[in-house]
Each structure stands twice: as structure tokens, then as C-alpha cells.
């Protein structure tokens, strides 16, 4: 025979639920406490580490990159605020803002030569030349970090990847896929011909010429009619190694 539900049955069920909830809350609390404790330990460890290796972080670009990677993995961004503990401890925020300003200056100084598109490698070496007096070495990774901070300003600084190389764009020119592909071909020798482009991409003749004309208009390319074969070459100062030296020269005369 089935028992009908009684008052005491309901009461004991409610009591059990309360008990469970209490235990559950306790467990959760213990877990959070533990987590908090771990985080605190971790933070103090990281601080201690940063303090201990302060000089390495400041002066050694490779070490700095690795430190950044480690921070990224645990979700700490030492650059997030200039006022935070990291800035106080390492002065890292200022370092990158300083780099950012210098990067903008270099981009402006070389713009008339390269049309506002500069090889990351070249930018980095110009930056090093410029900072000769400063003790800290600067790596490409540092440049990238500084540029990513510039984005906040909405000024249109951007890093684009073309083939294997990274280029830094400081003009609002939008490069489409065709332009990127041409730049990629140009990386091999520093220049391209219409014929070459048509052959490598099997484009109809108008397409290559159109894209090259745009690049020319934007000041990213220069024509060269002087070769023996009589074919017009389009040179790209932003990918040609010779521009590194030229850029430096322009910079010196303008500063």
C-alpha cells in the first residue's frame, strides 16, 4: 500500500536540501579561497620574478619577449595601464610609449621615400640607430608591441603581412589583395615587371597594370625604364633592402 506524503516527509526533504546547499556553498567557498590564495601566490611570484629580473627585462629584448609571452599566457598585460604596478616596477609602459613616438617619427620621415609603407626589419634598424644613446636594445617584437599601442589613437598604424615579411603601414591607403600579391612578388628582387606579374598570377594584362598604377599613384612604387631589355620595372622602396640605408639618410637630414 502506498504511503501518502506527510508533513514530516516534506520537512525532512527541505532540511536535506538545506544541508546540501550548505555543504555546496562551503565547498565553493573553499575552492574560491584556494584559488584566491593561488592567484595571490602567483602574483607575488611574478612580481618577485619581475623584480629580480628587472634589468634583464629592460635590457634584453629576447628576455623581454619571453616575459611578455609568459604574462600573456596567464592573462596579465604589463602594458594595460601606465599607472599600474607594472609600470612602477619596470617602467615598461613608458618604454613602449617612447618607442611608439619614435616609430611615428621614423614613419613620417621616410614617408616621402617609401610612400608610408615600411619594412618592419628596416623600421627596427632605423629605430636602433636612432636610439643609439639609449642603453636598451630593441627587438622587432618590441616594435610590434609599440605599434599595437598606437592603434588606440586610431591613427591608422597597422602591421600587414605580405609573404614572409611584415610591413608597417602609416598611411590610410587600403591595399587590396592584388596589391599585396604584387608586393609579395616584389620581395624577391625589389622590383616587378608587368610581364612577371601576369605570368605568376595569370592575370589579364589590364589587371596588373591597374594595380601597379595605383601603387605608383600612392607613392609606393617607382618606375625604372633604364634597363637594357627596355621593359619597365616597378621598384618598391618598402621592400628593397637599399632603402634601409636611404631611409636613414633621409632621417638624418631631416632631424
Amino acid at each position: 500500500m502506498r504511503r501518502r506524503p506527510g508533513i514530516s516527509g516534506l520537512q525532512s526533504a527541505a532540511a536535506a536540501r538545506d544541508q546540501y546547499r550548505l555543504v555546496g556553498e562551503n565547498v565553493a567557498k573553499i575552492r574560491t579561497d584556494l584559488m584566491k590564495e593561488q592567484l595571490a601566490t602567483f602574483r607575488s611570484q611574478l612580481e618577485e620574478f619581475a623584480r629580480k629580473h628587472k634589468n634583464d627585462i629592460r635590457k634584453n629584448p629576447t628576455f623581454r619577449t619571453q616575459f611578455h609571452e609568459m604574462c600573456a599566457k596567464v592573462g596579465v598585460d604589463p602594458l594595460a595601464s601606465n599607472k599600474g604596478f607594472w609600470a612602477e616596477l619596470l617602467g615598461i609602459g613608458d618604454f613602449y610609449y617612447e618607442l611608439g613616438v619614435q616609430i611615428v617619427e621614423i614613419c613620417l620621415a621616410t614617408r616621402s621615400h617609401n610612400g608610408g609603407l615600411i619594412n618592419l626589419q628596416e623600421l627596427c634598424s632605423l629605430l636602433c640607430q636612432r636610439r643609439k644613446t639609449a642603453r636598451e636594445a630593441v627587438s622587432e617584437d618590441d616594435c610590434l608591441r609599440a605599434i599595437s599601442k598606437l592603434k588606440v589613437l586610431g591613427s591608422g598604424f597597422e602591421v600587414i603581412t605580405v609573404g614572409k615579411k611584415k610591413l608597417v603601414r602609416s598611411v590610410p591607403t587600403e591595399l587590396n589583395k592584388d596589391h599585396n600579391e604584387i608586393l609579395e612578388v616584389a620581395q624577391a628582387q625589389g622590383y616587378v615587371t608587368v610581364e612577371e606579374i601576369e605570368k605568376t598570377h595569370s592575370w589579364p594584362s589590364g589587371r596588373a597594370i591597374d594595380a601597379l598604377e595605383t601603387l605608383l599613384e600612392e607613392g609606393l612604387a617607382m618606375i625604372d625604364d633604364g634597363h637594357r631589355d627596355g621593359k619597365r620595372r616597378y621598384w618598391f622602396p618598402c621592400v628593397a633592402p637599399i632603402s634601409a640605408a636611404l631611409g636613414a639618410e633621409g632621417l638624418r637630414s631631416s632631424s
Binding site: S112, G115, L216
Partner: protein
Amino acid sequence: MQKLGGFKLPHFFNYPPYFTLQPVRETREKQVQLWKELILDYCRSQKIFVIGLEEDFPLFSNPVIERSLSHEAREVFLSALVAEGRAEWMDKSHKKCLILWLRIQAWADYILNFVKENGFEDSVMTVEDIQSGIETRGTELAGIDRCVLMRALRLLEQKGKAAIFKGTSTDDEGVKFSA
């Protein structure tokens, strides 16, 4: 880096497109600017006063990259210097160009300064002396183009700082300075 008779060539001299006139205005302006500076610097260091457009001139071609400037390009670059008063066409057909890495006025000032520093006030020098004499050796005046020198001296004469007098032949044309 490449050198030309002790003159250090700029990097753009080895970048082929700089030898072709650029069609886009901004790029062209930059190109002309670089060439102007190069021509003036080179002429100054080598004491060159006259460039013949149709003659071989070391800056007009770069055998290393097998490029040379077209006649049009040469004329564009030199015309840009003329427009700035740093050069003058010597004939109507623009075949010869006088390069003034110092303007005539600057030359006159230079001469006056030279005279003062070396105590030649109230003394007489021949034009020949100034061009190749022992006194001017090691100064910018050594090897100065006769035409440029005479114009500078005439400018000084106008200001009453010098008096030019002629001898029987051009060789003994002389000048008396008065400070």
C-alpha cells in the same frame, strides 16, 4: 659604399628608379630634391663649375647598376637648380650649365672675408693669384671659375669694396681691395 674620386655617393645613386624621371608629382619632387643636393655637393667637393649636358659627367651614369640619366632628366634636375638660383644656363640651347654651389653674393662675401683675414686690404692681387696663387691654396677660392670670380669681384666693386683694373692682357687683370 661607392666612391667617386673621394666623394661619398649617396645610397639613392645605386637605386635604379632614381635614374628614370618619376611620373607621380610627389615622388618626382623627392627625386629632384635628392639630385639637386647631390649635384651641388659633388661639384663643391670636386670644384666643378660647369656641367656640359652632352658630355660625360660622372654623376650622369652609374655603371654599377647600368643606369644613366636621359637628356631630359639632366635638364630637369639642372633646371631645378637654375630655378633656385644655384645654377645658370650658359647658352640658350641649355647645353652648358654654370653651377653655383656658392651664390655670387656668397662668393663675394667669402672673398671679402678672405681679404680681411689675410690682411690684403689695400693691396693688389691679380685674378690669376686668386685662382691659383699660393695665398688662396686650401681655401674655396683655389681653382675658382674665372667667370664666377669676375662676377663676384664686380659685385664687390659696385659696393666700393674693390677696384678692378685691366692690364694689357687678361693675365694681368688685377684687383685692389679696400675694406
